[in-house]
């Protein structure tokens, strides 16, 4: 039984099994559920992820305050015109991450991954990457298992709660999970998954949680889009053979240490960061009065 990412990677090597197999066997042992049931539940969740990632691409969602209504559609139309700076893959990832965030803000159905506020990252990265690579559903679900394994490790050894660790813990963790899943989809090794996790998390170390008016909208949607992009560039760096140098487990621990030291104003209380700017305060007053 692994307790950290190093343990997961070495268990895969020692047993000569693929990484998702180790996560799967662990899940079977923990819950007593069958392999069939676990895959069935993974597929249900994947379908919900896909639907949330696609639903707002062509239709702006209604929500309290409307801070992010129509963001996904705007990004999608821009991407469809074909003259973007960062290319169609990156732009479709951003548009899909924004879509899930709009669905979430509008009280639509999403799959928390690992949280509701970060629900756009894994679906966007995995959908766009699986389309690009022509992955099968089986490969997607195996990669989702790996993402889940990474998320469980971060939850156990740090936190995925914005109130406890800031945005680095929510969107940062989602980005790290998505980075590992992208490496896995691309056929990368367990070590490359580990490096992608380390690189993704160090790229957002210290990111604060500062929701305007306390709503899960701004900067949440942009953070979902940017951490989704962080996930794929971290995956690409790991696949190129870059090392995180600092082992991913140590990066996870340091993320937690940084999160604990963040002042409470910067952890989901809407008292600091962009929430405390003159415009942030004005928007709050505009939406909720006084």
């Amino acid at each position: 039984m692994y307790k950290d990412l190093k343990g997961l990677v070495s268990e895969a090597e020692e047993k000569g099994l693929s990484m998702h197999r180790i996560v799967l066997e662990d899940e079977i042992e923990l819950t007593g559920n069958s392999e069939g049931l676990i895959y069935e539940r993974l597929e249900q969740r994947w379908q919900i992820m896909v639907s949330s990632a696609l639903r707002a691409l062509n239709e702006a969602q209604e929500m309290t305050g409307s801070l992010i209504s129509g963001q996904s559609k705007k990004q999608n139309s821009y991407n469809e015109k074909g003259s973007t700076l960062s290319g169609s893959y990156i732009n479709s990832i951003m548009a899909m991450a924004l879509s899930s965030c709009e669905i979430n803000a509008g009280m639509g159905r999403i799959c928390a991954a690992p949280t509701a506020g970060s629900c756009g990252i894994i679906p966007a990265v995995m959908y766009a990457t699986s389309e690009k690579l022509g992955s099968t559903l089986g490969e997607i679900l195996d990669s989702l298992l790996v993402a889940g394994g990474i998320g469980a490790i971060i939850t156990k050894n740090a936190t995925v709660s914005g109130a406890e660790g800031g945005c680095q813990a929510e969107c940062g963790a989602a980005g790290a999970m998505a980075a590992a899943a992208a490496v896995y989809l691309a056929g990368g090794t367990p070590e490359q998954c580990e490096n992608a996790v380390g690189i993704a998390l160090m790229n957002c170390m210290g990111l604060v949680c500062d929701p305007v008016a306390g709503l899960v909208q701004l900067p949440c949607s942009y953070r979902n889009a940017s951490q989704a992009v962080n996930a794929v560039i971290s995956a690409d760096m790991a696949l190129a053979g870059q090392s995180s140098v600092i082992p991913a487990d140590e990066v996870i621990e340091s993320m937690y240490a940084v999160g604990r030291r963040l002042p409470v104003e910067l952890k989901e209380t809407a008292l600091g960061g962009i929430a405390a700017t003159p415009t942030g305060k004005r928007l709050k007053k505009q939406i909720f009065g006084a």
């Binding site: 919900i48 309290t64 690992p114 509701a116 998320g151 971060i154 709660s161």
Partner: protein, 220 residues
């Protein structure tokens, strides 16, 4: 690893917040289930963060939807007010300091069609998980994560023995069992969490035992 992958790939829910939306739906749904009888009016006393930041997260609509039996992933939650109106359900929300409890807490009062009243308190403790902390003034800690039996009985010798015998006869393993009573010989509350599905017949079997006041099966 002692954390399920479905704790981080999930839950499936309507947004925007696992604690202020999904947890609120579950809290009210379980409370209504515990109240156990049809009701025509429900009131929600909101404490702490539920009172202060709840509206932006749809906590009010989530609680009302949960009381009407909707699940956490039902997209009708945002239309809870319209739904309550169409069902003729009266409701009210107000702020109340519930004392030294979790930030995301609520006290729900159900006025039943038969003229009786149930007061159920609880908290949304994060990630969509909940705790029912009080039923009609008796302290509890029901998470509703496992199939749960909630039994109220007169505090008499042999009652517990007969309850556990009924479970054994159904082949059900008890995971956790808690017995609380206000005073000796008075009314006692038994909460049993099990590993197995609880068949509805079991409630009838236990209800038939002498000195049992009420039995509820809580399956989330």
């Amino acid at each position: 690893m002692n954390i399920s992958i479905f704790d981080v790939i999930g839950p499936v829910m309507v947004g925007p917040s696992s604690s202020h939306t999904a947890g609120a739906v579950k809290l009210a749904r379980i409370a209504a289930l515990i109240s156990g009888k049809p009701f025509y009016r429900v009131t929600f006393a909101l404490h702490g963060s539920f009172a202060k930041t709840g509206v932006g997260h749809g906590t009010d609509r989530a609680l009302l939807a949960g009381a009407m039996g909707l699940d956490e992933d039902n997209e009708m939650i945002k239309n809870a007010y319209e739904l309550a109106e169409s069902r003729g359900l009266e409701y009210e929300f107000f702020e109340k300091d519930l004392g030294d409890v979790h930030e995301n807490s609520c006290e729900m009062t159900f006025l039943h069609d038969d003229g009786s009243k149930s007061v159920i308190a609880g908290s949304s403790i994060g990630g969509g998980r909940i705790l029912i902390t009080g039923i009609d003034g008796v302290k509890t800690d029901i998470s509703a994560e496992q199939p749960t039996l909630l039994i109220r009985q007169f505090d008499r010798k042999g009652v517990i023995h007969r309850i556990t015998k009924a479970l054994l006869d159904c082949g059900i393993n008890i995971g956790v069992m808690r017995l609380t009573r206000e005073e000796r010989g008075n009314i006692a509350t038994t909460v049993i969490e099990t590993d197995d599905f609880l068949p509805p017949e079991l409630a009838e079997t236990i209800q038939a035992i002498e000195n049992i006041i009420s039995v509820r099966i809580i399956e989330s």
